[in-house]
Symmetry: D2
């Protein structure tokens, strides 16, 4: 078919002064920020499921999305046209990566074998389009939560047949991800949790989840897949409790089962806030533990208790996120994947453009502000000074493990009044505002 | 002084039919539940800070509590009478344990040395009363959050002098706990967290927290304190984020710093729900990891966002908690400590009795129901059957690590339709109700 | 077709001792509680949409429900068999009422006229079954939230054509409800709210909502429909903010537009808690304002932020709810409608029975406990005594409006120390436990 | 005494480029925004209780604040110096208004008469300073929540003596507010609510609250106080449920008791979000109902469940707030009162300056952005167009009440497919970002 997003030209950088809603105000891909271009810093990615597949369904209503590419009734034909739509969309927005679940791109067949065959067909088409456009695969994954067979979990199902079936699907998804040069592979365990403890053997389920991940590691090695494995924490929804609750929980799990060398985290903003952490907190915690792998760039609504997956437009959040990314030395091989969906009321194709532009510009501006904050060492010098007592005297001895309770008690008993200094939270928030507003 | 709680006799077991609000309906200390008495199962403990010290202050109002024992103005004299009140109270309620922070029992002095001297004086008195009454110390701890010096934390303070001072206080508290035969020592890091990441070096703070705990382990060894170390998770309040967020977070922390052999958890119901976990979840998770150490028995209000520390009266919560305790093989050397305070509007001395009776009876009934559920294997058999596919065939191979993705995929490709069974949540909830109501 | 729920006999009252999960432990329809039977007190109702239609879909997965009655592909034929299933189900569970949305019972046609014709066809069948079985319609309503045309609201849509279309649907639903002798008509405004204020004229939307309701009142009068109008508050979901947020908000709205004489409330437990009120609070507030009309009997999960619509099994909640119902002098012409769905993992037909039995027994037990509490005047006498100062002296003058600030100040200036009494929350919670457990 | 805030000069407007943390970047009092100066638009006010009295206490720790003006032990002498500190502070920050509770400015005496005498003494001093400096009183109020006598409420206390006492205090506070030319009088009912329904007569308490407010209206008339009465909604804390839950609840209450002509609302940002509304929502709702009276300018932390009363620094919130203020035609006689406290860790006197500067600049920037949005009619034209169907045809008939269900059904039955348009949320959020960042 011909052009799908008719009447929408390639979106360009037009500067902050432009009021063209189909131009970028802040995202200028080639602009250098430090030693890399904005494009290299951001590594934006389109989420196939939301942008190409998502219908605007919610728990109380049917899909609203107008998708001119969804014509005909043959699932494989629809799948092919979706590929066209996806690549035209990414090209027009200059998005260099995409991500997908196996069944996003190809329909399930009547048998597992047919499902795999469908997938192979479309993967060949994807590969062709990728070569043609230079667009790359940020990560692949398998959807182990949508079908009724996963009602009680996949790797944590009480039914061993489901575990086996899930293994087959991940095996295939790994092969496909390798085939497409995917730089990462993500595990989001949408049903890996419980709805009630009254019927659950949590110990066995956790053990089985670890077994499953170990098998993935082993199989990746066997086939030579060298992409980064990522786990995506989420505290709840669809299940009441998900085992990959948050970054700290996943760290604990990985350590317990000796998996810590093989996995990093894919951190989603909305999942962070559903776990009652700030987005920055989760990024920071992951960074400190060396597991900040990739980002699902979206935002939630703090007044709502479910995963709204909104496009990220809050500049505070994007600035502090990019601050962590810069301190992490970048995200590669991860990226910023727009795991975000237009609101159900934003149902026209052009809304997909408005929404991605809003998100891209929010992160672009955030990157610039974060970079300036770091270059000026505004927060860094404040923090350095604040903790300076650990660089000499008793503090030096503490961090160098030269003293114990006895020595410290001797020291304390001799001390006069302890003198603390203000943490200056309000001053720092004011400075952040100035940087944010003045760019 | 003479009797403090005048007109209140020793509270006795009177059976479910009694409507005496100063008698127990369900708690019959000598009654055997399985192979132990109710007293041995429950190991109830009074929290010195709430019951003896707490004034009923909140953020919007002054203390309301009427404490007939708080007379005079000499802090040491007040401290002495509080000891009298505490032991009379515990004896009248037949509570076999208590817990305290250092400064609950003795006032801070003008110097650290004087603080220690004050403590030694009162500890001698406590020891005397303990010997006299047979009441024991469940755990001791140091209050490292109340004084302004801890405004930015104790072990995680940006000021090394504060770290040293905190070390001296814990050293002393350990000595005192040992002196009194305390069976555990608790760390609740009320200020070990941050209020804003703009001024915080989270990496250093986490490292320092670990250093501090390692020093405690070393010092306990040095002085021969063999009680169990416990960490008490709480997600927030007073700080915006506390490092000991929940059981999983603490597990991750302990593993990271090689401290996992030295610490178990002291799990508080209200802290669990503030972290958006059920009380049972936290107990279960701790049990599965072998770190279920002790319990702070209280409850929160799900409609309020702060630590209300209410007396535990919800039978669902106490039943499922005791279910985990029984599956854990008991709590000893831990116990059920009423870290709970009467509402500000319950300001009369007798309310302290009503409140403890309500809590004790709720746990006693919960114990009996949990025991019956276990004896009848109601949930256990359902769960065993539910996961039975892991006891033969492909499931057996999975849990015995005999297969990988390749074998599982071969198996799955040959499978017909997967057949799942209902999880029966509503039926199980109904059965739980019947057990709960019929006792 | 023949029997649909094969192998399941009529569910009977078997007493608390029975462990038959397909028998009632507490619900004995003919048993007198005060001057009415349990059946008359409870007026249980089945929700057509959840029990007969609901597929077990959630935001992350397809339907799981096994509905043996859903065979064939002709929508009208499916609709007919659903009627059979519904009445067999209600008869087997002895449920005397049901509720439905227009499109629950009959499919939308290609035109509005065809939709109405479909509805008429099925309504005739429903009427027949109702006469045959004696089962009655508690309330009818129109679904104005599911179809994409309602994406921005119905009565509050920014598009006047949608307003008109919605009016036509409610007109028809009123006629149908009258035809079936429905005792109430419910408005739940699932899309009557906003997703962002950036694009919303809240003033106009509120005015239009009021206009719509006034038209309904006028039309009911015109056709002689004398059933009770009910508004069902919900704070959010699917929209970010719903105009019928909670009981207080709806009261304010009705008063503002002079609609207060025509509407009562249909109060749903899960909607109450999503608005951060207890279920009892909403019932109590409605009762005090004379607008407690009917109840959607379900429960939420306090740890989750969305409408889980679980079957009500918490005895505390059902007891305190029935307490309000009894104080209200009953619910009629309203009832207890199980607006509740089995968990997605409870996908077998028998789970529908287990779930309703769990809910029915929970309310039956709650009714008995509430009745005993009231007969014994346990709470009532405490409260009467607590406020007794308003029955004489200055208090009498206050509530009889005989004094103003001047007189009260004169009085206060002459008073000695004010003396308050404890609110005894813990004692009352303990008493509630005893009543609840001892029945 | 001499200068209290030593070394801190009068804070001046220095422009966006200045990095002086003791200068304003955006607040330029004389700058015209539309037809008023920024000062006239903003009407900033200092909260006496937080800024002058607040000690930095929290539920887990003692006060940390360093207040050089708090010397000596005579309460009246301390009260006098606090007046000095307050006026020096306001003058240095160019804050034109302040607000206070009676006992903020003068200590309670041993009798009510002595309390009033103390108040008179300090009020005379305040009056003198006000005349000297030109600083005005935005509103006065009485603290009816802090003292133990109010443990169960003031106007809603179960004890008539407490009601009378509270009446005396409000009577006096009204007289004092009048004496000082206060432009408003605020009711925040910190204890007007309940902790448990088990002991509460909610009907009587609501009636009594209304009686109390009616008495205030009557007394104001009697003494010729013509300031605006304001009610400040808050959903909870300190009580579990507060009767003035949110704007809608208060509207319902006022209507029910015929008080709607006498009260507007004082809307606090943090109270809005504790009620799970956005700040803008509450302002908008109040504006639509003509009751937007004044603003308590602060912010909460969406990840915490209590009233943190932080200084307002979020530009999104301040922009959308000022948008509502401008649409309201301003706030006068209300204002923007900084009901905000420095973090406990920001304990130095200079932090009070940093914090107020942060808040003032955030609102100043918000005002400028809001004004530009309105001048450019960015949102207004979008909204006008979005609802344009109500300006002709069937829509016109609807809003002019010319049609009912019958006419609308006739219309709808003739309609073809309904056509909706996207709500464009993401585009509008992007535009908001551009305005916000580009000023």
């Amino acid at each position: 078919m011909g052009e799908i997003f008719k009447g929408i030209a390639k979106v360009k950088y037009e500067g902050a002064g432009s009021d063209n809603p189909l131009g970028f105000n802040y995202y200028n891909p080639e602009e250098m920020i430090g030693e890399q271009t904005m494009e290299e810093h951001c590594r934006f990615s389109m989420a196939y499921w939301h942008t190409i597949i998502g219908q605007g369904v919610d728990m109380f209503g049917a899909g609203t999305a107008l998708h001119p590419w969804e014509i005909g009734t043959d699932p494989m034909e629809i799948a092919r046209v979706r590929v066209e739509a996806a690549f035209e969309f990414m090209q027009k927005l200059n998005i260099p990566f995409f991500c997908f679940h196996d069944i996003d791109v190809a329909p399930e067949g009547r048998s597992l074998q047919e499902t795999f065959d469908n997938l192979d067909t479309i993967v060949a088409l994807l590969k062709e389009k990728m070569e043609e456009t230079g667009i790359k695969l940020l990560w692949g994954t398998a959807n182990l939560f949508g079908h009724p067979r996963f009602v009680h979990g996949a790797a944590t199902a009480p039914n061993a047949d489901v575990f086996a079936y899930a293994a087959a699907r991940v095996k295939k998804a790994l092969e496909v991800t390798k085939e497409l040069g995917g730089e990462n592979y993500v595990f989001w365990g949408g049903r890996e949790g419980y709805d009630t403890l009254l019927n659950t053997d949590m110990g066995l389920e956790l053990d089985n989840l670890a077994r499953f991940l170990q098998m993935a590691v082993d199989y990746a090695k066997a086939i030579g897949f060298t992409g980064q494995f990522l786990i995506e924490p989420k505290p709840k929804e669809p299940t009441k409790h998900q085992y990959d609750f948050d970054v700290a929980t996943v760290l604990s799990f990985l350590k317990r089962y000796g998996l810590e060398d093989h996995f990093k985290m894919n951190i989603e903003a909305n999942h962070a806030t559903l776990a009652y952490h700030s987005f920055q907190h989760e990024l920071y915690l992951a960074r400190v533990h060396g597991v900040l792998g990739s980002v699902d760039a979206n935002q939630g609504d703090f007044l709502l208790g479910w995963d709204t997956d909104q496009f990220p437009t809050n500049i505070y959040a994007t600035t502090l996120a990019m601050y962590e990314v810069l301190k992490n030395g970048g995200l590669a091989p991860g990226g910023l994947n727009f795991d975000a969906k237009v609101r159900r009321g934003s149902f026209e194709p052009v809304d997909l453009f408005y929404a991605h532009i809003a998100g891209i510009d929010a992160f672009a501006r955030g990157l610039k502000v974060a970079d300036k904050l770091l270059r000026d060492q505004v927060l860094e010098s404040f923090i350095k000074e604040r903790y300076s007592s650990y660089q000499q005297g008793i503090g030096y001895d503490i961090v160098n493990n030269k003293v114990g309770f006895k020595e410290l008690a001797d020291y304390a008993l001799k001390q006069e009044q302890i003198s603390n200094r203000s943490g200056r939270q309000e001053m720092l928030e004011h400075i952040l505002n100035r940087y944010l507003l003045e760019g």
